[in-house]
């Protein structure tokens, strides 16, 4: 029952994350969702995973968001949705109903635990290829991150920038230079 309560609260937190006005608030609600998920994972018996999820999902990702919001700025957006709100609500509810029906109409019989397994054995030996994949992912992610955040000398053709901005570039550049004082990477 505790898991059910935690899950319901997590769903509510997630909904709040979407509805939040500011981006920092949104990131904090997300951190709450991550923490609750980690608790639920622990209650399921996935102890190692819960710890990892707590540190990565709640800690690392939230810090990343805060960093990004600092760089990108927390300006409020103009109101108005692209997809009309009733349609969005309708499609999401329909999706939940269909998925719920699909999933809950064919529940498997509970199986017994297949002996004592050690997580590290399964992770490093049984799913060794996954470890390799993760290493490659992390490596490429870091490279991509550095590449994407590199300073560019000259802007692009300018048409997209011109059609959208109105002089915020100068402010932004000053702010960036202020924040990113330590050299992040060579070009």
């Amino acid at each position: 029952m505790l898991s059910l309560l935690l899950i319901v609260v997590a769903v509510v937190f997630a909904f709040q994350a979407i509805r939040a006005r500011g981006l920092i608030a949104s990131a904090l609600w997300l951190a709450g969702v991550s923490a609750l998920t980690a608790l639920v994972l622990y209650l399921y018996g996935a102890h190692t995973l819960a710890v990892i999820e707590l540190s990565v999902g709640t800690g690392l990702v939230t810090v990343l968001f805060v960093l990004a919001i600092n760089i990108a700025g927390d300006n409020p957006m103009a109101a108005g949705w692209i997809v009309p709100l009733p349609l969005a609500i309708g499609v999401s509810v329909l999706f939940v109903l269909v998925l719920g029906w699909f999933v809950l109409s064919a529940l498997p019989a509970p199986a017994t635990a297949s002996g004592e397994t050690v997580f590290s054995d399964i992770f490093w030996q049984g799913r060794g290829l996954d470890v390799l994949v993760q290493v490659v992912l992390i490596f490429s992610g870091v490279l991509g991150f550095l590449g994407l955040l590199a300073e560019v000398k000259a802007p692009l053709g300018g048409s997209l920038a011109e059609s959208v901005t109105s002089g915020r570039d100068l402010e932004l550049k000053a702010l960036e230079e202020q924040l990113l004082e330590e050299p992040e990477s060579p070009e």
């Binding site: 994972l41 719920g100 992770f123 570039d169």
Partner: protein, 103 residues
């Protein structure tokens, strides 16, 4: 209705997926989009672990879920980096204005 732990987990999965997709439909800020992607990732984690527990192979479920965490964190990182870069070049994070891939 019997509420086995697996069923509870599935309720969580369906709920988080629904909220996450609703957020993707409704959010206009690029950073919020990344937040919604993270919500979807939590749902995936729950699904894997719940299935692992129901099948009696919790450690296998954990291993797979760990890969999901790594992958989704990298996705969040890339999304944020893209968002920052877009903000620098076009000055806005509003997806309504970022539609140059029009047909």
């Amino acid at each position: 209705m019997n509420l086995s732990p697996f069923t509870i987990g599935l309720i969580g999965v369906v709920g988080l997926l629904g909220v996450g997709f609703y957020g993707l439909l409704v959010s206009r800020n690029l950073i919020k989009i990344v937040v919604c992607l993270q919500i979807l990732a939590k749902a995936a984690l729950l699904a894997l672990v719940a299935a692992g527990q129901a099948a009696g192979q919790i450690d296998l479920g954990q291993s797979l879920a760990l890969t999901v965490i790594v992958a989704d964190t990298i996705v969040a990182v890339m999304g944020i980096a893209l968002g920052v870069q877009i903000r620098r070049r076009t000055g806005t994070l509003d997806v309504r204005k970022l539609s140059s891939l029009r047909g």
